[in-house]
């Protein structure tokens, strides 16, 4: 079945072969999604490349090279870098929390020269890497052992704690969802899963009472009844729904979206960018983008299931799920299905950190794809 020369070698591949092995179809899909983003950023700026579309293109190009670079690096190298990456991300996270207490209000990023870095974004990828490496060494039975489960939960919980303190509920949810998904995929016993789900269901009222901030509660309340605060917090949801709905079947046409152009949409260039797309290109355009996203995810699942190493499988699936959670939360949020949480639409929303980490994630996915035939022993720590 597999007759290519590198397949037999399994350990290393010539650089050129790696380029050939890159799934250029996926690259095309990603580029198409990003282009839809450029178009919408151009539109919401009133038909101008400034201030969002042009910087976004530059970020995408940078991200594109990060993707290629990450793709050609051997998956075992990524495996050996997993823990150090996690450590660095955790340190940065602590750093912004400390800086945030010194500064004013919620601090979510640090400046590295001109580059604005959001450690919580970095954490998502690092967690997937580290957790994949940790679970790679565990058999199905070992995953469910209390000690191992405790370590894994600690790896998830510590960063989640720092992010929730920022406070950034949306990213916390994604970090927890990413980690939990990896545990599930690694074979966690249903004896753990079922009681946990029950406990979570029971804990929701308690969390409401003791954990959530007032502004978070307000978001939930306005979500449940947007008209109760039609000119305040409910405004966002109401206006987003109007924007999407008014697009109709085929949309108002490129640059014709009145809701965004006249500033009725909040955060039109970031969290609500997909809303503008729905308004200008209608049901047809929005569905087309969902299909593109679906194809990317399908490719991710396929890569995961065809990789020959547990690390590669978990990594690919983790990256794919991370991408999926972004889309799910943002899509459901702007369409009024869940409360407003600050989660951008991947590849579409304006912003450096998210674009670079998403592209880096796809680079890792591509690396798994290129090195899908590489087998890694259960007790290996990667190569460096």
């Amino acid at each position: 079945m597999i007759t290519r020369p590198y397949a037999a070698a399994k350990r290393t591949l010539p650089f050129l072969d790696k380029l050939v092995e890159i799934n250029w179809g996926l690259i095309l899909l990603i580029t198409l999604c990003a282009c839809a983003g450029f178009a919408m950023l151009y539109s919401v700026a009133g038909g101008q490349f400034h201030p969002w579309a042009l910087p976004q293109i530059i970020k995408f190009v940078v991200g594109f090279f990060i993707l290629l670079a990450a793709a050609v690096v051997d998956v075992r190298v990524w495996m050996s870098l997993a823990y150090p990456a996690y450590g660095v991300a955790l340190l940065l996270l602590v750093a912004v929390d400390v800086a945030g207490h010194v500064g004013l209000g919620a601090q979510r990023w640090i400046m590295l020269g001109p580059l604005e870095l959001q450690p919580s974004e970095l954490m998502k990828v690092s967690l997937v890497l580290a957790l994949s490496r940790f679970l790679h060494g565990k058999s199905v039975e070992e995953v469910s052992k209390p000690l191992n489960l405790g370590i894994a939960l600690g790896m998830i919980g510590i960063p989640a704690l720092f992010v929730v303190l920022q406070p950034n509920l949306g990213t916390t949810l994604i970090i927890v969802a990413d980690g939990a998904s990896l545990l599930f995929l690694a074979g966690l016993s249903w004896w753990w899963i079922a009681p946990t789900l029950t406990a979570i269901a029971a804990a929701v009222p308690l969390a409401w009472r003791f954990v959530l901030h007032d502004y978070q509660k307000a978001r939930v309340m306005t979500f449940l009844d947007p008209e109760s605060d039609a000119l305040g917090a409910g405004w966002n949801i109401t206006q987003a729904k109007i924007a999407i709905g008014s697009g109709g079947a085929t949309g108002k046409g490129f640059l014709q979206g009145t809701q965004s152009r006249l500033n009725f949409l909040p955060e039109k260039q970031t969290d609500f960018i997909w809303t503008s797309l729905c308004e200008e290109f209608g049901f047809v355009g929005a569905l087309a983008l969902l299909i593109l996203f679906g194809m990317v995810i399908f490719y991710g699942v396929q890569t995961a299931t065809s990789a020959r190493s547990q690390f590669g499988r978990l990594l690919a699936m983790g990256i794919t799920l991370n991408f999926f959670f972004y889309i799910m939360i943002n899509g459901a949020m702007v369409m009024g299905l869940i409360p407003v949480v600050g989660i951008p639409m991947p590849l579409l929303s304006y912003g450096g950190s998210a674009m670079l980490t998403v592209m880096f994630g796809f680079g890792l996915l591509m690396s798994v794809h290129i090195h899908r035939q590489v087998e890694i022993p259960r007790h290996s720590g990667g190569i460096i």
């Binding site: 599930f184 109007i242 995810i297």
Partner: protein
């Protein structure tokens, strides 16, 4: 240890199975997202599109030009003039709002009070909304601001429209004025124009009565606005319907003469066409400048208007109520003739006093008038004659005659605030005081005192009816736009021609026969002779001492305590065309009311507006074919 063992295999199987489960979950989530998209965009798309349009499109009300008010010969009495004003857009004032106002203040005067108001307006409005800084600038001032415009960022010269009354106070009690809309106005009128900032609504006079007609219908400008309400562009424009012009029966030339004649007095005067009731001039003095109310009065001006004892805000013509005094005697005379009491042989002897019920009622002429018939009674205004006559006629007949002449009821003039006056009756007294009518009450009414009260306008209507023998009523408005207002057809008055002729003869002799009470002020121009009747309305109760030793002369009294002077008249005496009334409050000394009435009546006859063709765009005759089109006539 082998590189891979069975444990790896089992976890690969689990991984693949669970990946596919998650793949299924993800597909389900995408299906939900797509379903929600369908729900929002396809199922409810039309509704959300409407909401988006509601967001985007705002209807701005466009005020149509207010209709003009024009006199019978085409003179504009109320019109709209350009309002040169300076607006300030706060967000564009790059040097700051206060600095911008101060800079404007160096070019044109801005008081501290104005400045405070401007800053308040700016504070409560959106930053992009133009706020008026100064209005009603002269062309000179406006040009100066324009000259400095390059140094005035955010300052916007603008030409608006505002109501103007070119003759100032002269016609104020007819026209009324416009002023800012009050909350009560909005309460019973949902016209969107009223909620426009700076909109003015008719508050008195014709401006109020015909406000709906002169207002016109609001136009609309459809504009695209952003989320903050700023106008992005205009999508469509609908100019609305301009207000209709109102054509009055007034002749401004006569009005001017009348106003001058009453200058300095607290007085009311009306000149009327005896045949159709056209009011040719109507004045109540002092007046005030209606333009002040449009621009907005300051506290001092308002206080001056409300505390003046000459009551400039009151239209005394129809809002002032006076005892008619001797001007009521023609009505009593008519009642007496109609009742068959004042026959040609009927005489009353006056010796200066009339004793009744142990009480002495004095005639104004202490010497007495001797024997008088009804014509002589009117000519001499003999009180004793009318005491006796009233006693014999009785209150019921007097009341009936007064009502036929239109007293005690609204004339129906097209102005708000008209008063009824009062013609007393037995039933009225019973109802009001729970007392039976006394003969003494009848005697007082017989000389126009006691319970009876009238407005000057009612007196004018009365004299016009006596002069013409028809049931004419005063009317101010000829037509609204292209519609001639219908007026009740004047019927023949329900008195015999003989009775009316006798009263007219008496009134003629008052002025034109030596010995008549107003002979001094006769018009001697041939063919213009005026007939009339003077009257004095007592405003205080005479003391017992005065009853015994004679009434204190008015000239020695405080102004407020002096009697009112009244006069009714018609001319020409032989063939009446015009009726006039003039009442001067506390002005009985020297009969200024007769002097003024004579002057106006003489001028009116010389000018003869009835003989001139009016400048109305439509006349009742020309409008007829249009209205009777379906009648097949």
């Amino acid at each position: 240890m082998p590189l891979f063992d069975k444990k790896d295999k089992s976890r690969y199987t689990i991984f693949t199975r669970r990946s596919l489960m998650m793949g299924g979950g993800m597909t389900a989530v995408f299906a939900v997202l797509a379903g929600r998209l369908y729900q929002l965009q396809i199922r409810d798309g039309a509704q959300y599109l409407t909401e988006a349009e509601d967001n985007r499109v705002s209807e701005r009300v466009v005020a149509p030009p207010r209709g003009r008010i024009i006199d019978r010969f085409g003179v504009e009495l109320a019109n709209n003039r350009r309002n040169y004003r300076v607006l300030l857009v706060a967000e564009q004032a790059s040097q700051g709002v206060v600095e911008a106002i101060d800079t404007i203040g160096k070019i044109i005067l801005i008081t501290d009070q104005q400045k405070k108001k401007i800053l308040h307006d700016i504070a409560v409005n959106k930053k992009f909304a133009p706020i008026p800084v100064v209005e009603n600038l002269s062309w000179d001032e406006f040009s100066r601001v324009n000259l400095h415009l390059p140094y005035l960022p955010g300052v916007l010269p603008d030409v608006g429209e505002t109501r103007d009354y070119p003759f100032s106070s002269e016609l104020v009690h007819i026209l009324g004025y416009v002023a800012a809309v009050s909350p009560e106005d909005i309460g019973h009128d949902d016209d969107p124009l009223l909620s426009q900032p700076g909109y003015r609504i008719g508050k008195r006079g014709i401006e109020k009565t015909f406000d709906k007609e002169v207002r016109g219908e609001a136009g609309a400008s459809r504009v695209e606005v952003n989320a903050y309400g700023r106008v992005i562009r205009e999508l469509g424009h609908e100019p609305g319907v301009p207000g209709q012009d109102i054509y009055l029966t007034i002749d401004r030339e006569i009005q001017q003469v009348m106003d001058k004649a009453l200058e300095g007095q607290s007085a009311a005067c009306v000149l009327m066409d005896v045949d159709n009731g056209d009011v040719l001039a109507m004045s109540s003095t002092p007046g005030f400048d209606p333009n002040l109310f449009n621009v907005g009065l300051n506290g001092e001006q308002w206080k001056a208007l409300t505390t003046d004892d000459h009551k400039p805000l009151l239209n005394k013509v129809m809002g002032g109520v006076y005892p008619p005094g001797s001007t009521f005697k023609p009505a009593v005379a008519l009642a007496a003739i109609e009742a068959g009491i004042a026959t040609p042989d009927y005489h009353v002897h006056c010796n200066g006093v009339f004793n009744f019920g142990g009480h002495a009622f004095h005639c104004w002429q202490k010497r007495g008038h001797g024997s008088l018939d009804v014509v002589g009674g009117i000519k001499n205004s003999c009180d004793v004659f009318f005491y006796e006559t009233a006693r014999r006629v009785g209150i019921d007949k007097i009341e009936e005659a007064a009502r036929k002449l239109g007293l005690g009821a609204l004339t129906g003039i097209e102005l708000p605030g008209e008063h009824n006056g009062l013609v007393p009756s037995r039933a009225w007294k019973q109802k009001t005081y729970r007392q039976a009518w006394q003969q003494g009450d009848t005697l007082s009414v017989g000389i126009g005192q006691g319970y009876v009260t009238v407005t000057p306008l009612q007196l004018c209507q009365q004299v016009a009816r006596i002069a013409s023998g028809k049931t004419v009523s005063p009317r101010l408005v000829h037509s609204v736009g292209n519609r001639v207002l219908e007026r009740p057809k004047a019927e023949k008055l329900d008195f015999t021609d003989d009775a009316l002729a006798k009263v007219r003869e008496g009134m003629d002799k008052v002025m034109n026969e030596p010995g008549g009470t107003a002979y001094t002020w006769r018009i001697s121009d041939p063919g213009m002779e005026m007939a009339g009747k003077t009257g004095t309305a007592q405003v205080r109760v005479y003391s017992q001492e005065e009853h015994e030793h004679g009434v204190t002369k008015d000239a020695k009294l405080d102004w407020k305590l002096r009697d009112h002077g009244l006069f009714i008249g018609f001319a020409p005496a032989a063939n009446p065309k015009y009726a006039i009334v003039c009442v001067v409050e506390h002005g009985a000394v020297g009969h200024p009311q007769v002097v003024a009435a004579r002057q106006v009546m003489l001028f009116a006859q010389q000018r003869d507006p009835k003989g001139k063709r009016a400048a109305y765009p439509v006349t009742a005759a020309s409008a007829e074919p249009a209205t009777s089109g379906t009648g097949g006539g």
